[in-house]
Symmetry: D2
Subunit: 393 residues, 4 copies
């Protein structure tokens, strides 16, 4: 009789279960109906997130590492692949809201089945490559947890009756009492990740960057400060705006941040607890890059670069909102995309997007570090993103 | 003490309950998920149909005839009004798929509540105007029953895994053994409804029409006959097509009827029982006006006018598919739209649509007569519509 | 030696030259620049009209009737075919404004060359089929004369500096002093052309139509009357509008007829003599079908059918503006499209368009009769179209 | 009597006349027709270029520096302003092709009038600010000379008959015999302009940049090399493409560079001398950023950053084509936009565009330097842009 290898993967199994459970917990306030719609191509339905994060483990773990694995359902790879061209055909992104079937229940069965298979695999294997891929899958799942909740907020916001996701979900934080500004002296600094824990390919390639002297605000911009911008006519003054930003706000008749309404002189915002009055002292959120740049110009300042931010980060109080930087999302020197389909994870998006640094109240716990490079197109404001100013000195 | 009038509305109450129950029966094979999406602006989600038909009774019956009636929910008039400008603002038509809330359960509660109120009202009132409006509401509901099932078919068809609505729902009928053609002699004929039962405003105005001699086919076009058109290159020969039809099939790359696929030389079609092989002997359905005209030209014939159809109807075997006519949807002489919001029911749609006559396998029982004027835009084929040919003699 | 037939086509040659000269006369106020742009897909550049009407003679006359004819330029059939699928590939309609080359001069050379060839052909042939095709070409040219001038008006109107075509081109006519209304008695009437002069296929098929009693206004609607509609809030009251009309005016923010502006309480309109004050007494023009129907509903009347119009026409004073009728453009009984490419002239447009009857100040002299069926889509108002009301009695 | 200051501006006057004359020379092969169309929003008609460059002098020189100057025409500021929000309303960009009037002749009169006024002003003033603004206007004019000729190429290319601009305009250059690669050693380098001659605001702010070791190809990519990419299936392999690049080539069915056609196995390209066979040895041009990145990935290399390019530039042979860099167009440290409308010249475009370095065969003589930052959106290929590869070492 062959002896069976029993791997000691207790820790990763525990972590796997915890992260997977968190995704389901985020869905607990939802009705079946809430899992379905896709009101804009940039958001995905909750059912799709639930299934896609499961597919990720099936595709990149089970079908690679488990001999003779039979897929849960022949169509799911087609339905729940997001953007990996190298693993086959897939549903068009804007059709994710049409999937009434498979029923939600079956998607949760899929989840359970894949979870069991993964745990079983981990109990019997100790290949480092497997552990690494599981870890990537968990990081991926945590990214989708943030997308899940911000997508849900957007989806609910499109309903004229302002539904409540959960009455305790009310992100608006008070701005910390005045934090000291951070001064960076001119010189060469190291940028990029070099530790041994998990990190993404796009933060690899530790390298030197020359930084000019700059002072970075210790505080994030508050709602009150942005209201001053609004009330000074900021949305009507082309001189503050990038040309594409100006065109964007004209075409979309933007006069307020996403989710804000003004009624009888008061500002309200859609939150996951329904429509609420804007708290002037709270940190501004759901701002796009165009608005961030316009606000910085209005104040005579600018945004940080991602390099300045990384250097200053140890002295900053960050994590309430993702912070738009003035850096475009581009490869670091010596960037190498990983071999195979995983190579599509980051590198192919390096055009027309801006880097955000930090983390937000919606970010999964443990899923942040000061070298992390988040990125979105400049027009998007459905993420929990805000503004930190910098000035040259 | 006032004496309370107890109306003898037993019959209308019975009918009311039966029609309302039929709508719910049509929903019985659905999961909650299936009630939500709206993949195209011309279809509506099942939840919306369920709620809208209820709103119709609330708006036009309860709030008119029941003193002191309080609406079930303050937002439902906004959410579930279809196109009645005169009763207030409403949700934009293409946003019907975003309504995850109100939850489906609440919509069914709404239904139940309104049903009870209506029955109670009928038990206590015998105003003819009330009965008439109830009857209109039931006719309206029956129209939505047909839309509900054809919309569901379209919605399901957009899912690449071809879901099944119900295994017994398989509409494709065998073409009746050869029926005799019907000859109409030249002369003046009466057109339009003049009975005392329910009928729509658009079929009123009985009037004389002069008809030229014509022979109308006793049979509807079969799948086999349309396959011959396809295989003769019908979709590639501009000479058969109206100019806008030709443009439409180019833009949409149409080479087959909606729901059809060709694989390995065999024809399949999406049905409410999933993908099925096309039965050559069955009546062709899901054809748009452009295809109907192209087929008629290919055969050297033409479609009937709605007047010819009405005159011939007593000798025709009709009811499998709606039959496209060559008549545009226009008012009859002396057409008068009813006063108030109900005036928006029919008259304002009298441009750019073609008349269909008859009824289909999806039409509610008892909801058809030979003066009934159905109408759709020429490019639509998601209704159960087919072809009957005519020729001048 | 063969004797050469010398045909006595003096009259048709004279007419040919006169009609062709008229087209060029209409271009005489233009600069080369004015011949080029195509600001909307429904208009064509003047250069294209000039070339296309010439191509029509080359394609349907010279290449059919003249042995060994060599085309003036190998690319012109591709460039200047309008919509005849059966004579080969062609430039897409919305690309007509890109043709800087061939130079305008060459297009006029083309014109001259084809004219000479046609005259020479006529001097040597007396086949009736040739004469008939020449006549069709001249009728076609006259239709394009009207399109040429209305297209030019539209093109010029898009220029914010309101250019003048010609200072004497000022179409706005005084409404005739009150004309008597015309009463049609109930009965069967003959409709359609049956004379021996030129007529189009779409007016053939003389046939009987039953008409109900109706009274037709002797007068066209004046600017003053339409101003009353505007100032009563006509563009804001959905109850007057067809549903698609209402959607159209919302999407396009229509508050006034095409070409009208309101400044300081006064109405102005773009004319071929630049911006001019609206003359209240003049006949209203440049109205689309939606506006015509809304106006009729506002007055509690309706538009004529094309059959009523034809019957009443002998007693009407018509020819200032094309008159929108309530009839969709559909084939007459026994309509037969001509064989070959000429069969594409009319028949394939018989869907989604409304019939206009009469003629306008822009119509070529001699190019009108009371059986003539003009047709346009209901949203278009760049033609010289107006309103005549009818009422049932 | 006041003495009149006679400025000694001989040199700038000479230069002014020469640059202005060059623009007109570029127009000499054109017919009036060629000045009009705008087939895509990103190109402008030649008439507009001619007028806009003149307006620039009128707006920023004459109306600022000449007392009592009366504008040539009251509407020209509206018609010929490009994107300067701060000097007033303007024609929408996509309407530039509608301006048949003012006639071309008047635009040339405008040009002549402004030229005379400028020369007269220069003869009588010696304010340095005036000279600086004239110089900016000339640099601006030179930029438009390049746009004029590339726009004309695009406009002509849309005509199916492939017109010739001029038979001697045939840009395709032979690739220089093999040039040595350039090695940059790791370290801190100075970037940005610091001389005293004219330069743009976007190249100011000389600053230090840390560069990693890199080897830059001495040669530009040739047509032959790109044909190899094409024939290896490069346009069908998603792994080489940025995600947005892949989407772009799918949507636009790109299988070849702009202007290329493949017929019977041979490659042709539209040139200003009509359709010509592709010269395999010539430098590849009219490539967009997506194609440049895909090619670099195919070769296992990458593009230069703009900083690497600037450092290497003294050893490179550049000027045939603009070279796409891997750098997004962003502000340099301490970038300050100039006060007033001129501040809109560059800064507001710093998002979603990539930097190109060098110059091209279409660049005006004397209008290039190694700190010059050109920029375009990644999808555009109508500029004379090509590929130079780099690799890390």
């Amino acid at each position: 009789m062959d002896s069976v290898t029993v791997a000691d993967n207790t820790e990763i199994i525990r972590r796997f279960k915890k992260v997977r459970a968190r995704t389901e917990e985020l869905c607990s306030p939802l009705g079946v109906e809430d899992f379905i719609p896709q009101p804009a191509v940039f958001v995905s339905p909750a059912k799709w997130h639930i299934a896609h994060t499961t597919w990720f483990f099936e595709e990149f773990v089970l079908s690679k590492f488990k001999k003779g694995y039979t897929r849960f359902h022949k169509d799911f790879a087609f339905l729940f692949n997001s953007y990996y061209n190298s693993v086959g055909e897939r549903l068009e992104r804007d059709n994710r809201g049409l999937l009434t079937r498979p029923r939600l229940e079956l998607v949760f069965d899929y989840r359970k089945s894949v979870d069991q298979e993964i745990v079983s695999l981990l109990q019997n294997t100790d290949r480092q490559e497997l552990i690494n891929t599981i870890e990537l899958g968990l990081q991926h799942e945590q990214q989708h947890q943030e997308l899940l909740i911000t997508d849900l907020k957007y989806i609910f916001s499109q309903n004229p009756i302002y539904p409540t996701y959960h009455k305790d979900y009310y992100w608006e934080k008070i701005v910390e009492p005045s934090q000291p500004d951070v001064l960076i002296e001119e010189g060469v600094y190291n940028i990029g990740y070099e530790g041994k824990d998990f990190s993404f390919d796009n933060e690899h390639g530790k390298h030197k960057v020359y930084i000019n002297p700059v002072e970075i605000s210790g505080n994030l911009v508050s709602n009150q400060e942005f209201i001053e911008f609004i009330e000074s006519g900021g949305y009507d003054k082309s001189e503050f705006w990038l040309d594409e930003g100006w065109a964007f706000i004209q075409e979309n008749s933007c006069k307020l941040p996403l989710y804000w309404k003004k009624e009888d002189g008061n500002y309200f915002q859609y939150t996951l607890n329904g429509l609420q009055e804007v708290n002037p002292k709270a940190v501004l959120m759901h701002i796009n890059y165009f608005e961030a740049v316009a606000y910085a110009n209005y104040k005579g300042h600018r945004l940080c670069t991602e390099f300045e931010w990384e250097v200053a980060s140890e002295e900053l109080n960050w994590g309430t909102v993702w912070e738009w930087t003035q850096s475009a999302y581009l490869p670091y020197p010596n960037y190498k995309k990983p071999a195979g389909a995983i190579g599509e994870y980051n590198g192919k998006f390096m055009v027309n997007q801006m880097v955000l640094r930090g983390a937000s109240v919606a970010t999964a716990k443990g899923h942040s570090r000061n070298t992390y490079r988040n990125f979105f197109h400049p027009q998007y404001s459905w993420q929990v993103a805000g503004i930190r100013l910098a000035k040259e000195i």
